[in-house]
């Protein structure tokens, strides 16, 4: 959990806006550190979390969270965390074992045309409180997906993923007043027109229309730099109360490993920009702060 990021987003384990759909995206960069951030944030906030980990194994997420000071195994045992290990589930579907105990959430792998209804039902069953004591025990429900682009490569159409996210939003954000965090990755260039319309670009646009906050991670436009590892564009949409439609800010970040045992530090210098403009003058750098984190953003390739 990056405390500085929390202060930028006006959130924290004690207080955060409910009913938000946060869209994380990256373009030729890696935004998985944000997934770990939100996972640890919501677990600390005592939310009931449903995590669809389609990219990495449970032990990976667990190891990263361990260094962030959150134990996934304990959370799972307590019933706070419901983890769908996409790698394992798809394997049991592709190579059926004798003791077939895999859930039906991932059965779209067999026939991608049926859509993601089963996956949504898995999410709904996981997060809908069954009443009684559990309701008091855990806070608002949270759905985390890492990452939805994997569904595309499993053969699901972008439209079906958008339907899935719509249903999740209607249930989690609107009905249960919880939060939803999804990661989309785009590998192509931004100005790609027409070529990739069916794929991740369409998915990103569709999800952008749905969400209330986007965090877009990308490399520096000026190229590699030793002191800054990339930039995050934060865009608030739909701030009805303020009468403001969209608000954009640009921040630059740096991971700096200190010692092996000590947490890694992430240095973040904020550059405030209006809309899509990127101010280049060094005078505009307003904030420079360090935020500590217990793991690097390491991630194996798919």
């Amino acid at each position: 959990m990056y405390t500085e990021l929390n202060s930028i987003l006006n959130s924290g384990p004690d207080s955060f806006t409910q009913g938000e759909f946060i869209l994380l995206s990256d373009r030729q960069s890696d935004a998985s550190f944000l997934v770990h951030h939100f996972l640890s944030l919501y677990l600390r906030a005592r939310c009931k979390v449903c995590f669809l980990g389609l990219v990495q194994s449970f032990s990976h997420y667990s190891a990263v969270s361990q260094r962030l000071g959150v134990s996934l195994t304990q959370a799972k045992e307590k019933g706070q965390l419901i983890f769908l290990e996409g790698l394992n589930e798809s394997l049991t579907l592709l190579i059926p074992q004798k003791t077939d105990t895999g859930s039906e959430a991932m059965d779209f792998i067999r026939d991608p045309t049926v859509g993601l209804r089963r996956l949504f039902e898995f999410v709904r069953c996981s997060l809908q409180s069954s009443g009684g004591e559990e309701e008091d025990e855990w806070g608002p429900p949270v759905l985390l997906v890492d990452d939805v682009s994997v569904l595309l490569s499993l053969g699901v159409s972008a439209g079906a993923v958008l339907d899935f996210s719509h249903y999740c939003r209607a249930t989690v954000c609107s009905q249960l007043q919880g939060n939803m965090v999804m990661l989309v990755r785009c590998n192509g260039e931004e100005e790609e027109d027409g070529g990739d319309e069916e794929g991740s670009e369409l998915l990103l646009k569709g999800l952008t229309h749905q969400c209330s906050l986007t965090l877009n991670v990308r490399g520096l436009p000026t190229g590699y730099c030793r002191d800054i590892h990339g930039q995050v564009e934060v865009c608030w949409r739909r701030k009805e109360g303020d009468g403001q439609n969209t608000q954009k800010k640009l921040f630059q970040y740096k991971f700096s490993p200190l010692e092996v045992a000590a947490p890694l530090a992430l240095l973040l210098s904020g550059v405030r920009g209006r809309r899509s403009e990127v101010p280049e003058e060094p005078d505009n750098q307003e904030e420079r702060c360090t935020f500590t984190l217990a793991s690097g953003p390491r991630r194996a390739a798919l």
Partner: protein, 296 residues
């Protein structure tokens, strides 16, 4: 032109508000709803993309008694047992039935949020047909729809816009919460009017047009512009007077050698060096005719 559109749509009108991921047109749509409600009109909203609470929360300040929300948000595909309104029900009969549930003397305005959601599941031809039937059917007075242009192919967007009586394309403005609206309005006579306005939406959903960056489509070329002489206000002179012409003739140009100039320049000064040359027969040797010297 934006305030005129907000003040009222002609019967049988179809307004399409186009937006993209960079700027949401939903607030403008809400302005339209609120303007219609303030005119004591009945508004039916088919909401695919926002929940009823969110829509009514955004419409604070307007009386929502005459607002009828048809919930297509919670279950648009019929994944649960009791869907209120599914995307398959978007056809003339079902929508007319929906609207007629509240019997009223005046035909209501139908708002669709958004057409993009329907277009993802229903073929564009069917959507266009339904919209056209709704316009002509008389059950609704006017239809206002939101369309996310970046979600569809250009042809789909084009065919919907051909159907519309007014198309408003919104885009982010240069600063603050300003936005730019490009408006295409087709009147019944067939005249097409284009306009571009910079606007912002106040908290009470009132649309304030800040300036007109207008270039109307049927603009006459400015008559005063045509008659102006480009040589009128020059800082230099294009024509010569007689005296000037005389002076010009008198002037000896450099590098043009008159006889006087030549003698003046080549006049030998006593004491200076001089080249003496006596022509020599040998110097006059012609290579092409080596036998020239032979007196044949």
């Amino acid at each position: 032109m934006l305030p005129e559109l907000l003040q009222g749509v002609d019967a049988g009108g179809l307004i399409v508000i186009q937006d993209c991921a960079g700027y949401s047109g939903r607030r403008l749509l809400q302005s339209f709803i609120s303007a219609a409600l303030n005119r004591d009109e009945t508004v039916h909203v088919i909401g695919f993309e926002v929940s009823e609470e969110e829509l009514i929360g955004g419409l604070k300040g307007s009386s929502t008694q005459r607002l009828h929300f048809h919930d297509a948000f919670t279950d648009p595909l019929g994944w649960t047992d009791h869907p209120a309104f599914t995307v398959r029900q978007f056809n003339l009969d079902e929508v007319t039935h929906l609207v007629k549930q509240t019997s009223l003397p005046k035909a209501p305005t139908l708002v669709i949020d958004s057409l993009s959601w329907i277009l993802r599941h229903v073929s564009p031809a069917a959507v266009c047909k339904t919209l056209q039937q709704l316009r002509k059917g008389g059950a609704v007075r006017a239809v206002i729809g939101l369309l996310h242009t970046d979600m569809h192919q250009r042809g789909t967007v084009g065919s919907l816009c051909h159907l519309a009586t007014s198309v408003i394309t919104v885009a982010p403005g240069m600063k603050g919460d300003e936005a730019v609206a490009k408006i295409t309005k087709r009147s019944k006579s067939g005249k097409v009017m284009l306009d571009e306005e910079i606007f912002h939406i106040r908290e009470d959903l009132a649309v304030i047009v800040q300036s007109k960056a207008s270039h109307t489509g049927h603009k006459q070329p400015d008559p005063s512009e045509k008659e102006t002489d480009p040589t009128a206000n020059l800082t230099f002179n294009l024509r010569l007077s007689d005296t000037e012409r005389e002076a010009k003739k008198k002037l000896a140009l450099p590098f043009v050698f008159s006889k006087e100039k030549k003698t003046a320049l080549l006049h030998s000064v006593p004491g200076s060096g001089r080249i003496l040359y006596e022509p020599d027969a040998n110097d006059d040797f012609d290579q092409e005719d080596p036998d020239d010297d032979l007196d044949v």
